[in-house]
Symmetry: C2
Subunit: 211 residues, 2 copies
């Protein structure tokens, strides 16, 4: 599957219940999500996905645009992001995709605690979503270093890591060869959570130096 | 561990043997490697590492340079690469690090089958290792697309995936915030192997179009 391919899916979205001895419900531990997404992903309509995530009543009218709305790497990435219920940590070199920007704003409106760390130089590029996120009330911090803050990862509800080569830009999503891993194994998630908290504190504005 | 930090190690480098019933040696299946490396990694001397990998006799004289030679993210990444015995697939947007270039050439000289896929625009940058690798006889293929070949992954002996945000440049290694995952779970490795083979065939020079 060359364009918008997805591979390596190893778990369903929900835990499964099994009857145990006819007496009690027992929760079976579901297998951790292990998914690999490859890009480029073709241009696609995400209105139905966003409306579904916004809750009942929002999906009143189908979008009239001619873009396909089937399964693709972008839709899979969005579904993973939109599964957030409590928290979303974003550590992103470049964030210019309006589609991903709308998804993050939707989560913020839904009450998910969103925190964003980004690169100081790239956040000022034309098309950057960072200003819009700040305007919406989302917390954003950035580096003050000569090197790039080049990470491209997200952590959903402190249990699911989304990471890879993909910058969150339309150019990367639609034109580049890219990969994204979706990972729930704690051995990968925990170090990234620690890295996020470390960077978050380091980039606290009270530490800014004005040269 | 902010600079050159490594976390999430979950396995030793070698399988372990256990005596079973006093009669036979039995190989216990070792746990898959699961390691996360964070960058920047401080400048360090890798001569001892390369000499050790080159085989007996090569480590005759210690390097006189003043750089530290202890454990760091770069040395860990190098150890993983240098563990290759049969094959190494590289799918790299930018490859400008002389240290990583020397490691790859060493593997080639040791008889490891090395194949490199890279980005057509970035391979011509000053400092690119691609020309040196080709000169050494290593097979290199590149894209012919308008989008970037933006992957940054390696596959060692078809069983270990090394992937993340890190471009293989000294700038990225020593100055940027970056991550690298080292992964042996087949659910992640297999899709990347398939992606490599797909791209390798697609970028076969017999398919080049001369505009």
């Amino acid at each position: 599957m060359r364009r918008g391919g997805a591979a390596g899916e190893a778990a369903g979205a929900c835990g499964r219940r099994a009857r145990s001895g006819g007496r009690a419900w027992r929760w079976r531990r579901r297998r951790p999500v292990r998914e690999v997404l490859f890009f480029p992903s073709p241009p696609s309509c995400i209105e139905a996905l966003l409306a579904e995530a916004a809750g009942p009543g929002a999906a009143a009218r189908p979008c009239p645009c001619p873009l396909p709305r089937g399964d693709c790497s972008l839709s899979r990435l969005l579904r993973r992001l939109l599964s957030a219920r409590r928290s979303l940590e974003l550590c992103l070199f470049a964030f210019c995709s309006p589609q991903l920007g709308r998804a993050v704003q939707l989560l913020h409106r839904r009450g998910v605690r969103v925190r964003v760390v980004t690169d100081a130089q790239y956040m000022t590029l034309r098309g950057s979503q960072i200003g819009l996120l700040r305007h919406a009330g989302i917390q954003v911090r950035h580096d003050q270093e000569s090197g790039y803050m080049h990470h491209k990862f997200a952590i959903v509800d402190r249990r699911m890591l989304i990471t890879g080569s993909l910058n969150w830009t339309t150019q990367a999503i639609q034109n580049n060869r890219e990969n994204v891993l979706v990972v729930e194994d704690a051995e990968y998630v925990k170090p990234f959570l620690d890295e996020f908290e470390r960077i978050w504190e380091e980039y606290n504005p009270i530490n800014y130096r004005f040269f």
